[in-house]
């Protein structure tokens, strides 16, 4: 199982997020990437935490910040890739995999197919920000900044087009060892197809490894201490 980290990118700089709503500055993307590479972090997901309103200008500026980084660590990128125009801007980035969220919810086959042609099926990840309320599963639909029932999703479409599905526990985002295990079973996908994010800690990692998940993405904690990644790997 891969042990990765999430870096949230906002206005060309990294931020930390707590419980999906509180944001704190973290610093330069290059410095964060350098540290994670030195710690031999298996992969980094760079996410733009956009909700509802986003502009192509803001997207372009963030893309330029990513374009400038020098790294030898695998990167996946997502957050606001909504049209072919956005996809076009991604050329020549140091990125191997693309993360789509709203486009999977709206079944934007044209966009996802184009991305598949350019990057390959192995490069397509679907991110589902999930919240459980009264035992019911909801997915955050970023384009419209609202929660929708998981029943509204075409799970077979996601299964067919996404190489991996990132399940992001938004209630426990930024917290330690609090990932809601119920989320992992909410989509009836095979565990090796799933990447877990939000509330990841050592205990979660032990459990995830036993279950055979593809990867876990540690959020803020990955950069709090020098040996964090190493400790998570040996959890």
């Amino acid at each position: 199982m891969r042990i990765g980290a999430t870096l949230l990118l906002r206005n060309q700089n990294c931020v930390q997020s707590y419980s999906w709503s509180n944001i704190r500055p973290l610093g330069s993307l290059q410095i964060a990437m350098d540290s994670l590479e030195e710690y031999e972090c298996d992969e980094v997901s760079i996410i733009r935490p956009v909700r509802a309103k986003d502009s192509i200008e803001s997207f372009s500026k963030d893309i330029e910040a990513i374009r400038l980084i020098k790294t030898m660590t695998p990167i996946s990128f997502g957050g606001g890739i909504r049209t072919l125009e956005h996809l076009e801007l991604l050329r020549d980035l140091p990125v191997e995999r693309l993360i789509f969220s709203s486009s999977f919810i709206t079944k934007n086959k044209k966009l996802i197919n184009k991305a598949k042609n350019l990057y390959g099926q192995q490069a397509i990840q679907c991110l589902l920000p999930i919240k459980i309320i009264d035992q019911k599963i909801f997915v955050y639909y970023c384009n419209e900044a609202k929660l929708i029932s998981i029943n509204k999703l075409d799970l077979s479409f996601i299964n067919n087009f996404a190489n991996e599905v990132v399940l992001y526990d938004i209630s426990n985002d930024g917290l330690r060892d609090s990932f809601n295990e119920q989320i992992a079973d909410s989509l009836s996908y095979d565990y090796p197809k799933l990447v877990l994010s939000g509330g990841i800690g050592k205990e979660t990692i032990k459990w995830a490894r036993k279950k055979g998940f593809a990867s876990v993405l540690v959020d803020n904690k990955a950069l709090h201490r020098e040996y964090s990644i190493n400790e998570y790997k040996n959890a």
Partner: protein, 206 residues
């Protein structure tokens, strides 16, 4: 030494350039066959083989690569760029490759996706009967032990007994992770994203 990286407008060309430059070697990205001028060509590749092959042919890079190898130039294929060197790939409903190596590209057994880090142990002396090794000896390093990053759904099955190969892993031993034959190197993993091992590999093979 100069390196040309074929740029067909997709994938992480920038990462490859960064990787090559870690060995203090100048690399240029080429999108027109008339600009090819290096002893080593890197054929990168991400994407779907059908669409990639179409772009390669449209820009006449297929013939240019074959000529480069025929004229004694060195060629490094990475990931899809490695698969495309084979005779045939099952992907995209079946695509004829460049036929530079006696190998076929097939869907990984069990229809799995292999997105993992795997250990790599490479001894330079085990490649001595291949002519790829540079005479410039940029590195004295002879043993490379580390880990490399894979992200693929198709794998190359080598059929050339004279080639030097390293399997992907014990679980995927029928598929080739590293291939060296004469002036051709095929790499299924992403050396440009394999951190310190990738950095060591480039100075070892060039």
């Amino acid at each position: 030494m100069k390196v040309n990286i074929i740029d067909l407008g997709s994938g992480n060309i920038r990462s490859l350039k960064n990787w090559i430059e870690k060995a203090n070697i100048t690399a240029s990205c080429i999108n027109n066959i008339n600009d090819l001028d290096a002893e080593i060509i890197i054929l990168p590749g991400v994407g779907e083989i059908g669409s990639y092959m179409k772009r390669l042919k449209r820009e006449s890079f297929d013939k240019a690569i074959l000529n480069h190898v025929k004229n004694g130039g060195r060629l490094i294929g990475i990931c899809l760029g490695f698969q495309i060197m084979s005779i045939f790939s099952e992907e995209s409903g079946g695509v004829k490759g460049l036929g530079l190596i006696k190998a076929e590209t097939k869907r990984l057994k069990g229809n799995i996706s292999h997105n993992e880090w795997e250990p790599l142990l490479l001894r330079k002396d085990s490649m001595t009967n291949q002519s790829f090794n540079s005479t410039e000896k940029l590195s004295r390093k002879t043993v490379l032990k580390g880990r490399v990053f894979y992200n693929h759904e198709y794998g190359v099955i080598n059929k050339d007994s004279k080639a030097f190969t390293i399997p992907i892993s014990s679980k995927l031993k029928q598929y080739t992770g590293l291939f060296v034959k004469d002036k051709i190197i095929g790499i299924q993993f992403h050396p440009e994203k394999s951190q310190i091992t990738g950095k060591n590999l480039i100075s070892m093979i060039l």
